[in-house]
Symmetry: C2
Subunit: 245 residues, 2 copies
Amino acid sequence: MTASASGPASNPTDPERDPNPAATTARTPKSERTREQIVAAALRLFREQGYQGTTMRAVAASAGVSVGNAYYYFSSKEELIQGFYDQMVTDQTAACVEVFAASTDFAARLRGALLAWLDAADPYHEFAGRFFATAAQPDNPLSPFSRASSPARDSSIALYRELIDGSSVTVGAELSATLPELLWLYQLGVVLYWVHDSSPGTTRTRLLIEHTVPMISRLVRLSRLPVIRPLSRQTAELVGLLRGR
Amino acid sequence: MTASASGPASNPTDPERDPNPAATTARTPKSERTREQIVAAALRLFREQGYQGTTMRAVAASAGVSVGNAYYYFSSKEELIQGFYDQMVTDQTAACVEVFAASTDFAARLRGALLAWLDAADPYHEFAGRFFATAAQPDNPLSPFSRASSPARDSSIALYRELIDGSSVTVGAELSATLPELLWLYQLGVVLYWVHDSSPGTTRTRLLIEHTVPMISRLVRLSRLPVIRPLSRQTAELVGLLRGR
DNA sequence: ACTGGGTTTCGAACACGTTCAAAACAACGG
DNA sequence: CCGTTGTTTTGAACGTGTTCGAAACCCAGT
C-alpha cells in the first residue's frame, strides 16, 4: 500500500474510466476479454493461495498480461475483489429462486437465503477475512455502504423484499418499507460472524442462523403488538434518518 | 504487506516476544523507554498525517531510533495501533467516573458512556477507519474478539456492568448476566457507524446515539414482559452459545 | 581488566503494490 | 499505402513495509 504522495484525496479529476460493470456482457470490443481473464486469474489465485499470498505479478502472469496492464483495468489489488462480491450476489439470487418456490414460510425463506449465501461464499472463506477488512474501510469503494457497491446492495435488498412479499407473514405498516433493509443489515451481521468463524464446516455460523432466524421471525410478528409498535416506528424512523449519506 | 512465503500460518514456533503490555509501568529495564517513544511518535504522526501517510521510516526517525529497532518492539505497523486502542478504553473509563456519579438513570449513563468514547476517539477519526479495517480481520490480534485484546474487552464489558448495576433500572433475570456483553456489542456497532460517519462534527453518530439509547432503554425495560421474555431468554442463550471461540 | 551471553540497535537488502513514459496496436480518413 | 488519433500493453523504476545478519551495548562472573 503506497501513500498517495500529497493530499488525502488522491486524484483531483476522476473522469470515470471503468467502461461498464455489467456482468458477463462483452460491451466494449474484446478488451472485455482481457478484463475477464484478469479477474478469473485473480479469483483462482485468491482461492488457492489466499489474498496475501497472491501477488499482482502472479495475477498478471497467470492471466497472460503484464503488471501494468492489470493496473490499466483495475486500479488496485483490492478492486479485484469486486469480482468476488458480484459473484456472491449472483449465486445467492440464483439459489433463492428455488428456495422461494419451495415455501412461503417466512422463517424458512430467510433461512434458505442465508444458507445460500454461505454456500456461495464457502470456497473463499479464508480470503474473505481480508476482503471484509478492506471493505470495512469508510472511503473504500468496496464498502457495502459505498456508492460503488450500491448496485450489489440494491439487488440484495430487492431479494429480501421478494422474500418478504412472497411469504405468508404480515408485516406491520411501520416496518413494511424498511424491513428489507433491516434484513440486509442482519445478513451483514451474519456474514461478519462467518468471517470470524473458524469452526469446522462453519458450524457455528450455521448454529447462529438456526437460532436467530426464529428470533427474527418472532420479532417481525411481534412488531405489530401495541406495546412494541412505538419501537417499530422508531426503528423505521432511524433507518430513514441514517440513510442518505 | 509482504506475503508470508510458504504456508498460511507463518511462524511455526512463536515463543512470545512481547515482555509485558502493562500500560505505563517501566517493567523491564529502560528499553521500556524506547517502546514508549516509538508508540508516542506513531500516535502523533497518525494524528497529523493519517495512517497511510505515516511511514515506518518516519516513525522511527521521529522516535530517534532505526527502522529495525522499531520492528524489534512492534512486529508490524498495524501493531502500533494497539496503543490507540488502549488509550481509548483508558480515557472512556476515566470520563465515566464522572458520568456515573452524576446520574443513576440508565439511559443517561449509557448516553454518557458512548459520548465519552466519542470524545476520546475524536482526534483519531480519520485514521480510525484504517484501524478498524485491519482490526476486523479474524486472525488479527487486534480484532476486538481476539485473545490479545481480551483485557481491553473485559474492562470495557466491566464498565458496562458497572453502568447497569449503578443504575435504577431493573433487568430481567434472563438478561442480567449477558446484558453488559450485549451493550458492548451495541457500542461496537456505534463505533462502526462512527468510523463511516463523515458528517461535520460526527453529527450523524450523535444523532444515532440520541435515537438508539432510548430504544435500548425501552427494550431493556420491556425485556421482563411475558410476551418478550422468551426472546430475552433466547438472546441470552445465543450469546452463551456463540461465546467461547 | 577480560570474557561470554544476553539484549538492543542498526541499516542495507528484499518483496511487493503501484506509477509512468513510451511502445505496440487498432481504426479510420485521405 | 501513409499519417493521425485513440486505445491497449509493456516493463523498468519508485516508495514502502518488513527481514536479517552483524555490530554495539550492557552486565555479571571471574
